[in-house]
């Protein structure tokens, strides 16, 4: 490792000094002026300091330059002579300038390196924190329905003879409900794996808005057949760049949220509008609204599990944090607010350049 660095340093130093020498020779032969020569060597020294590791190569390059200039470019040529009038001062000056530049550059480089490392560490720490939060939320959210399923199944198996028909039916129903919830959870988690880890981006294709909305509604109705949703989308065909599976997941999460948390049976509104090259999806419920205190940490993933509802079987849990992850990966925004009669979640997707479907009518009457 150290040897490789040393070798690298030597190579760079020699290469740059040789280059400076060659250039200087050309200049010198053309103009017989050694002032430019000195400047070229200072430049080379600086570059050496910049491109090598540690202080030594820069300073060494400075000394070598001075000796070289004396040897090649000052009278008597090809001899070392430090006794000429004024030369000692020139050389001393040059050594100092070269050493200083070299030290400064090296120092600067080290500083940048340190800053970069610190930044990197911060980002890593942030990622680690997010991961830990998500894991905590997941284990909580998975354990709750699992406890229900295992408990119900075991009490059924152990007390089968003692239970009434009604009680049995109730237990099996519990298992079914909890299993559905578990499935929903797992689907949410799986959806996140579609997001690229490194870039936190998704592969988007142009999808007709109506298809995504209708597909989401279809799946939502399968899960909650009794819930009523009023969907309204723009009349014109709207193609939006997105990963349709993920946006479908977001829509389902937000709709379920609205049904479970509004505390009312009123229909939920799903409305999509176009504003300034953006598609805005609004999911509005008519219920109790959001707790203002929870507003800030709504999308953090573990907020709802930490305070109040300890039976957060139907807690928002990771659903909202996954919505945020998905929307962020689409370079969009998601936020929540209260309106006079309940809560409203909005997410915005950029439309890109190809927004409206121009009438490329493929008709061939």
């Amino acid at each position: 490792m150290k040897r490789a660095v040393l070798l690298h340093n030597i190579k760079i130093t020699l290469f740059l000094l040789t280059a400076a020498t060659l250039l200087s020779s050309v200049f010198f032969l053309l103009s017989h002026n050694s002032a430019n020569v000195a400047i070229l060597y200072v430049l080379a020294t600086m570059l050496v300091a910049q491109n090598t590791v540690g202080y030594v190569p820069g300073i060494a390059a400075a000394f070598l330059s001075v000796i070289f200039i004396n040897f090649v470019f000052t009278y008597p040529y090809l001899e070392l002579n430090f006794t000429l009038d004024g030369y000692p001062v020139t050389f001393l000056g040059m050594v100092i300038i070269a050493s200083l530049t070299s030290t400064l550059t090296t120092h600067l480089k080290e500083q940048t390196q340190i800053l970069k490392e610190r930044e990197h560490m911060l980002i890593e720490a942030e990622k680690e924190k997010m991961r830990a939060n998500l894991l905590r939320a997941i284990s909580h959210d998975l354990r709750t329905p699992l406890t229900g399923i295992i408990g119900s199944a075991e009490s059924y198996l152990e007390q089968e003879s003692a239970l009434s028909g009604d009680a049995k039916a109730k237990l099996v129903e519990n298992i079914s409900v909890d299993a559905q919830w578990l499935l929903h959870m797992v689907e949410n988690l799986l959806s996140v794996t579609r997001i690229n880890d490194q870039t936190a981006c998704v592969k988007t294709t142009l999808e007709p808005l109506e298809e995504v909305v209708s597909s989401a509604l279809q799946r939502f109705r399968k899960r909650l057949p009794d819930a009523v949703v009023h969907a309204r989308i723009p009349d014109q065909l709207l193609m939006i760049p997105m990963d349709a599976t993920l946006i479908e997941q977001v829509l389902i999460n937000l709709l379920e949220n609205a049904v479970y948390h509004s505390g009312s049976q009123m229909p939920v509104d799903l409305q999509v509008s176009v504003e300034e090259n953006q598609a805005c999806f609004h999911i509005r419920d008519y219920g109790t609204g959001l707790d203002p205190e929870a507003m800030d940490s709504l999308f953090d993933g573990y907020a709802s599990t930490r305070n109040h509802c300890s039976d957060s079987h139907k807690g928002m849990g990771i659903g909202l944090s996954i919505c945020k992850t998905i929307i962020n990966a689409h370079h969009g925004q998601i936020f929540a607010k209260n309106h006079p009669n309940g809560a409203e979640f909005t997410f915005i997707l950029p439309l890109g350049e190809l927004m409206y479907e121009s009438e490329t009518d493929s008709s061939d009457h």
């Binding site: 959806s191 999808e207 909305v213 209708s214 969907a231 065909l237 479907e357 493929s362 009457h365």
Partner: protein, 230 residues
């Protein structure tokens, strides 16, 4: 029904296999289960079942290979059982000759509906299909090439009509983007299916009251379209 229909269930997960068996037995089907691909192929060849339910994730064989082998000697309908996230797999299975797919987890009614649809289509294959599609307020007369919605005639362009009639003739079955592209725009059509999506959007505006909540043509995200069947 004088004779019981036979279903082969190819699934290596015992629990799932058992529950499908009990559903089918309840609907008075005769069921045969196979947990590996080799076993499945020999059962299918010897028993000539009426329908095949195939889980793609088998221990010994790629599900696609099973579809291919089965298709080499019989047209028995195959319904693929797959996980939610693998759209590519679903599409590939359909393109290799599977008749339909059902996504895990599924309910009893959904499974039975798919099986009935597949059986109906396979029985149609010999003779001619119906000359009229009728569902809700939508009526398509394939001979006269007429489409009406709630008694009112709907005007479609030629391509739109082709698309709708193709979906209607195989109502209940999902047709992949690729299949539709090839059928309508020919084998050398563009890989990009935007033109299909746009045409479907136009059709939806003519047939559906609210494109966001279609009644007749449903989208299967990432796979294709399915027309309502009654």
């Amino acid at each position: 029904m004088s004779q019981k229909l036979t279903a082969v269930i190819i699934e290596d997960e015992k629990n799932i296999c058992r529950f499908i068996e009990s559903i089918l037995a309840g609907e008075s089907y005769k069921t045969i289960s196979a947990s590996t691909g080799t076993e499945a192929l020999s059962v299918i060849a010897s028993q000539c079942p009426d329908i095949i339910l195939l889980d793609l994730g088998l221990p010994d064989m790629d599900g696609m290979d099973i579809i291919r082998s089965v298709r080499s000697f019989t047209a028995t309908p195959i319904i693929v059982i797959s996980a939610r996230t693998q759209e590519n797999e679903k599409v590939a299975a359909l393109d290799w000759g599977a008749d339909d797919y059902i996504t895990k987890p599924f309910g009893t009614s959904e499974l039975m509906a798919r099986i009935r649809t597949a059986l109906r289509h396979s029985s149609h294959q010999g003779g001619g299909s119906d000359s009229v599609y009728s569902c809700g307020g939508l009526v398509i007369d394939f001979e006269k090439r007429l489409i009406s919605l709630d008694g009112e005639e709907i005007h479609l362009t030629q391509i739109e009509y082709k698309l709708v009639s193709m979906l209607a003739k195989q109502a209940g079955k999902v047709l992949t983007y690729d299949y539709l592209m090839r059928q309508i725009w020919g084998p050398y059509s563009d890989n990009n299916n935007q033109i299909l999506r746009v045409n479907m959007a136009h059709i939806r505006r003519k047939l559906e009251r609210n494109p966001a909540e279609p009644e007749y043509i449903f989208t299967e995200i990432g796979v294709g379209y399915r027309m309502r069947e009654e």
